[in-house]
């Protein structure tokens, strides 16, 4: 460890010429390498080496099993996230514009965001059964607070100087809202969408592990129950990778769209 390296005045900082993708590659190599070694030792029979997991992943893809599982996972996830976007943004924007709605909905939304709502997921079955609708509801329970609270914060943080400017030019309230406040809040609203997607992934996994034995969650549970751990890890890696790539893509879009205009 070199504490001194933090001081900008320090000369000891070697000019490292590895490009950033090189570091990422190196980082993956180290982690997967350590995984391989730990799996080969083995530290546990339930911990297969990375190569076995990679092979299992290839098998699952080739046999079409993974595709089938995601065929059951992705549609309710997408529907749930879209519904959460519509409901959450509508709610958040209206809360930002109307104090009564803020008063009514802000505290329960904050509770839903901070409390362990996973506890009530099993309850969904009693109302919505174990079909896709239950999954959609689970996704929404986790995603709506995030999309709504972000949209709300976006509206509330809209640039007061711009609003004054629009008023000074005799803009109507409707114009101020549609031409200034909502566009100015769009960056945060979009960021809320990303958080909503991240919450949605958690919701769908919870639903599939706890209440509706279908999709990728079921693939994980199934291979655990038959002790085929390489396949189980492959399924877990696939969902984490899918979530990571999706979120990274949204973040890239976010930076393209709002990177320069906001802050």
């Amino acid at each position: 460890m070199s504490v001194e390296a933090s001081a900008p005045s320090e000369t000891g900082r070697r000019s490292v010429s590895i490009p950033s993708w090189g570091w990422t590659l190196l980082s993956f190599a180290i982690v997967f390498g350590a995984w391989e070694v730990a799996g080969r030792v083995p530290i546990s029979l339930a911990f297969p080496p990375f190569s076995a997991v990679a092979a299992a992943l290839v098998r699952l893809i080739a046999s079409g099993e993974l595709l089938r599982a995601y065929g059951e996972t992705i549609p309710p996830l997408v529907v749930g996230v879209l519904a959460a976007a519509v409901v959450g943004i509508a709610l958040g924007v209206s809360m930002g514009l109307m104090r009564v709605l803020e008063f009514a909905f802000y505290p329960p939304l904050v509770i839903m965001q901070t409390a362990p709502v996973a506890a009530i997921i099993p309850l969904i079955t009693f109302i919505y059964g174990i079909g896709d609708l239950a999954k959609v509801v689970a996704v929404m329970i986790l995603a709506v607070p995030l999309t709504a609270l972000n949209a709300f914060a976006g509206i509330r943080n809209a640039d007061a100087r711009l609003i004054e400017m629009a008023r000074a030019f005799q803009g109507s309230t409707r114009q101020v809202v549609t031409k200034i406040i909502v566009p100015d809040a769009s960056g945060m609203i979009f960021a809320g969408l990303r958080l909503g997607v991240s919450g949605g992934f958690i919701g769908i996994v919870l639903a599939e592990l706890l209440i509706t034995p279908t999709g990728i969650g079921d693939t994980i549970s199934y291979y655990r129950s038959v002790a085929k751990y390489a396949e189980m890890y492959a399924a877990i890696v696939s969902i984490i990778a899918l979530a990571t790539v999706t979120l990274a893509l949204i973040e890239t879009a976010e930076r393209r769209l709002f990177g320069k205009t906001r802050r």
Partner: protein
């Protein structure tokens, strides 16, 4: 003054709505709040509840302590040492937003169907936000403070404990508060996915026997406990806020 209590008023209003709606319409899964509150007084007296609370508190406490002990040094290291940052940043950012719930089934055969798995879940949920916030905090430490310590022959350990950690404390505490939120979710998710330990076993029991009063009573108790924990850290956080701005 009125502002401070507005959220409380809102919650009372919603409580009334809950009571009135559940009284007038028969909803199988939602008994009236009044009977849930009666359920709360019953549940807290149960031996099974106390044991579950103890077990959950232990798993949460150990998992959080591990997260802090591992997360803060790791974040500080990333903040001061570029190669460490470049190697770890990817993973911290992946795991902070990935659905780690999917990992819980893998922990079970590895660590057993019990406390260890729950502790590991808490750790996995909580540690990343501490890492990233500690890193953020260290980056905000004034570099001339490190120069200053070095001119007085500070050892690396002294620079770490006397400059970097207190300097990063505001962000570290923010990280810990967010980690508490995540850790509480982790402990509950770990327990209900395993379904055999702590509150997970109780939830399972109440669902199987369809005792909705007790189910909701448990939900309310857990929410209140989570709220108190988070507020507790928030209190400490506000005490160091005075120097967060003047670094």
């Amino acid at each position: 003054m009125a502002r401070r209590f507005a959220p409380l008023l809102t919650l009372i209003a919603w409580a009334l709505v809950w009571e009135v709606v559940a009284q007038s319409v028969e909803i199988s899964v939602l008994p009236p709040l009044s009977s849930v509150l009666v359920g709360v007084t019953e549940v807290v007296q149960l031996k099974s509840f106390r044991l579950a609370l103890l077990e959950t508190g232990r798993a949460f406490g150990i998992g959080m302590a591990l997260s802090v002990v591992v997360g803060v040094p790791l974040g500080v290291l990333m903040g001061v040492f570029r190669p460490a940052d470049r190697l770890l940043n990817v993973w911290a950012n992946v795991f902070i937003s990935a659905p780690l719930t999917a990992v819980v089934p893998a922990l079970m055969p590895l660590l057993g169907i019990g406390q260890t798995t729950v502790i590991a879940t808490v750790f996995l949920f909580a540690v990343w936000v501490i890492v990233l916030d500690a890193r953020e905090g260290v980056r905000k430490v004034n570099p001339s403070l490190i120069d200053m310590a070095r001119t007085h022959h500070a050892s690396r350990l002294a620079i770490f404990t006397k400059i970097l950690v207190p300097g990063a404390l505001p962000e570290v505490l923010t990280g810990i508060r967010l980690a508490v939120v995540r850790g509480v979710k982790g402990v509950i998710i770990g327990q209900i996915v395993i379904a055999l330990v702590g509150f997970g076993a109780l939830f399972d029991l109440y669902l199987q026997t369809f005792s909705m009063e007790r189910f909701w009573a448990l939900v309310i108790i857990i929410f209140v406990l989570a709220f108190l924990l988070v507020e507790g850290v928030g209190l400490i956080e506000r005490r160091v806020a005075f120097y967060a701005k003047s670094r």
